[in-house]
Amino acid sequence: MDEHYKTTIDAEQAPVIEPGHTFGTVTEKISAIVLTRPASNGWFVGFGVAFLLTMMMLYAIGYLFLKGVGIWGVTIPIGWGFAIVNFVWWIGIGHAGTLISAILLLLRQSWRNSINRFAEAMTLFAVACAGIFPGIHVGRPWLAYWLFPYPSSMGVWPQFRSPLIWDVFAVSTYATISAMFWFIGLIPDMATLRDRATHPAARIIYGMLSMGWRGSARHWHRYETAYLLMAGLATPLVLSVHTVVSFDFAVGIVPGWHTTIFPPYFVAGAIYSGFAMVLMLAIPIRKIYGLEDFITERHLQNSAKVMLATGLIVAYGYGIEAFMGWYSGDRYDAFTLWNRLHGPYATLYYLLLICNIFIPQVLWIRKLRTSPVALFLVSGVILVGMWLERFVIVVISLHRDFLTSSWGMYYPTRWDWMTYIGTIGMFLAAMFLFLRLLPAISIFEMRTLLPEAEVKE
């Protein structure tokens, strides 16, 4: 703990918490957002818009259930379309939350304590959005439970040699572990809210959620062990999840997919887009709720550096893809590269390079790394770029089949767009509710960052 604090007062860097805070002020400031601060008009407008978009998504999905996947733009040869593009995009965004909460915990990066809670919430909501897509893409969504190995009257089992079933296990494990990790992180803070709340209903609800937490030294000891072990389990898990997602492509023989660079490059891309989403959420939240003391310039800088590093790994991935297209000598691989550069979707490929490789290089400039507005805009660009990357991978690879007779084009319909934009609404609506109902910053972990938390011998 003490050495953590020492690193935070490094003169070179902005502090993790602005000086002058005590256990009391940290507790009050964070819990007040939930307990006493009235919901502003801005919150109602924001939540209202997000809620309407969620309704639009439900409408689009309802119509899909009525009519079938024919209302979408998917046709042979492009059977995957928006559903898979959006699935990969969302699940990638979720990865930053686990990286922040688990991997940075193991690496003793204590600055993560101010952003891990809402980053984990982001993970959960992003995984929830991601989970919708494969479920509604299967054609007969009411039979989606066939994905799981259950003793059916047909007597058959899932085909375990397929990456698609690996994905079912990876994503459902990821969702379960993320939810549990988030929940145990919340238990001590629920106790704080229980003890601070004045409304009887709030006390009962937070009391139930706190499970009767009383902060006993024995409990803390087991709690910390469990928390650390969960972090140790979540770390390989999060790396495996996007690896398995990339197997969905890489194990297939489609040119543009069948490559061993996919797992690391997918994981880096996931963290890249996830940090962009973290910043797009953190920058307005710290401003609106006055949390600049807790989410400081340091957090913005560090996140920008992570984006810069993972962005370069992604750029390396693109480079290797292009190189292998030439070096493999395989005419289909070479054609895939040519088709990306000159085919009907070439504009999107160039846009992808601009969004993911060129524009983010401005983060080398320190002044822009510390400017919330610039970071917000660059993060938006990266999110668009990462969405385009998945579009390029899914659509460009599929639309030119091995035989020219099976070539086709993919045009998303309004139902595709409504579903996609609707999930963004659902994600934001959940974030709006989360901010008002649960502490957006981990209160007890913030206390450990204060100098007074140190035990002097």
Partner: protein, 178 residues
């Protein structure tokens, strides 16, 4: 009658340092049934009150092993025993393809064991506990530190323990009714 119905005596401290020191002295004075409460985890505090056996890692290890075995054997039995299907000429027991799900099941079971094992060993959820009867205890989740000597301790005696705790210079002392 009052003394019999007490759950323990509780002392309140201002800082983590004071709590650790008080816990050490109390334990050294021969009190074994004691507990300490703090608003955040304090390294070494559990050891000071005589807590050394943390079974959470063992529970997680067992959970992980069970998960991994379940994952692998499930796939083996379903693909090679119960309904063997020839998929592209691959062997029924294609173990490399089974590794991913084996790994995921290991993580899943280990994680569930960590969370539920920790809660069970801590005796949670427990919505009611006698310490909540002390009004000042509500700051244990904010900025105060508490030490309790349970009345079940063989060395416990209402007046003696109270004056012992008084000697540790706490901010306040409360009796905890059971």
């Amino acid at each position: 009658m009052k003394a019999e119905r007490m759950y323990g005596i509780m002392a309140e401290f201002d800082s983590a340092t004071a709590l650790v020191e008080a816990a050490r002295k109390t334990h050294q004075a021969g009190y074994n049934k004691i507990d300490a409460y703090s608003p955040f985890p304090i390294e070494g505090l559990a050891e000071e009150i005589g807590f050394h056996r943390d079974e959470v890692p063992l529970v997680v290890l067992i959970g992980g092993l069970v998960g991994g075995l379940t994952g692998y054997l499930m796939q083996y039995w379903m693909s090679a025993v119960d309904y063997p299907l020839n998929i592209g000429g691959k062997p029924y027991h294609s173990w490399p393809a089974f590794i991913v799900i084996t790994f995921e099941m290991t993580i899943l079971f280990a994680g569930i064991s960590a969370v539920f094992g920790m809660l069970a060993l801590n005796g949670l959820p427990m919505p009611y506990h006698p310490v909540f009867n002390v009004p000042r205890f509500s700051s244990a989740s904010k900025d105060r530190f508490f030490l309790i000597v349970f009345s079940s301790d063989p060395k416990y005696d209402a007046a003696g323990t109270r004056s012992f705790l008084q000697g540790l210079e706490p901010r306040s002392i409360s009796e905890v009714p059971s």
